[in-house]
């Protein structure tokens, strides 16, 4: 299908690129169908784009990039809701707030987006840990990480830089950071 977006123009989105979020993102319960967009800018930042409202898109980044020991502990009810019988088939992303002063960008560690990669469903989960902030400064760590992978030439090779594309959910590598609270 063709999806109109405010940031990326028109995108072609296949069935394997759709993510359903039955309860929506907190504060936006009316939107339940999304796709992940890779803007092709090699910043590791992806976008969770609403299919139902072109103006709604959230920047996402895997928290392990700036917080290597991050873990998302989910309750049995949350795992059921996500239909996750194997926690290793999931990916975890923090929602970013990119400020006009880019160095002040923050990540929400308290309420990550957990995606079931097999079922293509996701949920914004609220974690119990008090040390996880909704506004975690992480510009320095992300920049250092990008410089390191640039130096090691580890960025995935692209045929053409700057090409915007929807991401096939099944090709996202599992984050291995979801844990069960009961375990």
């Amino acid at each position: 299908m063709i999806v109109k977006t405010g940031r990326f123009g028109q995108l072609t989105v296949g069935d394997d690129e759709i993510i359903r979020i039955p309860q929506g993102i907190l504060g936006f319960p009316e939107y339940t169908k999304f796709c992940l967009v890779d803007p092709g800018d090699d910043t590791l930042i992806l976008w969770l784009q609403s299919i139902e409202n072109s103006e709604i898109a959230f920047p996402l980044l895997e928290p392990k990039v700036f917080r290597p020991n991050y873990a998302a502990r989910l309750s049995a009810a949350e795992l059921r809701e996500l239909r996750l019988d194997n926690v290793n088939q999931s990916a975890v992303f923090s929602i970013l707030t990119i400020t006009n002063d880019i160095t002040q960008m923050t990540a929400n560690l308290k309420a990550p987006l957990v995606i079931n990669l097999k079922e293509q469903i996701a949920k914004q989960v609220v974690l119990q840990e008090n040390e996880y902030s909704v506004k975690h400064l992480m510009f320095k760590e992300l920049k250092a990480h990008l410089i390191t992978i640039q130096a090691q030439n580890r960025l995935p090779k692209r045929e053409t830089e700057g090409v915007v594309s929807a991401v096939s959910v099944k090709t996202i590598p599992p984050s291995l950071t979801v844990k069960s609270l009961t375990a």
Binding site: G6, L26, F28, I95, Q150, L181
Partner: protein
């Protein structure tokens, strides 16, 4: 909503495994103790409001991402 009156030290039970005790009453503040299985998630309601506000800020991220990308990779 079910409304119950409790005195200091009294408690309510929810299902078989959750117990909420009134630990202290001081002026307009009530301290509650909560006993629940470790997989029960318990949050102050303000946490949800803070997350909703943050999500609304996240949507406002600048459209000109080329500059963001330049600063990050430079």
């Amino acid at each position: 909503m079910l409304v119950l009156t409790r005195k200091l030290g009294e408690s309510i039970a929810i299902d078989d495994h959750i117990k909420i005790v009134v630990v202290q009453i001081k002026g307009k503040q009530v301290r509650l103790g909560i006993q629940a299985p470790k997989e029960t998630k318990i949050h102050r309601e303000e946490v949800y409001a803070a997350i909703q506000d943050q999500n609304k800020e996240a949507v406002k991220s600048p459209v000109a991402m080329a500059q963001v990308s330049k600063v990050l990779k430079g």
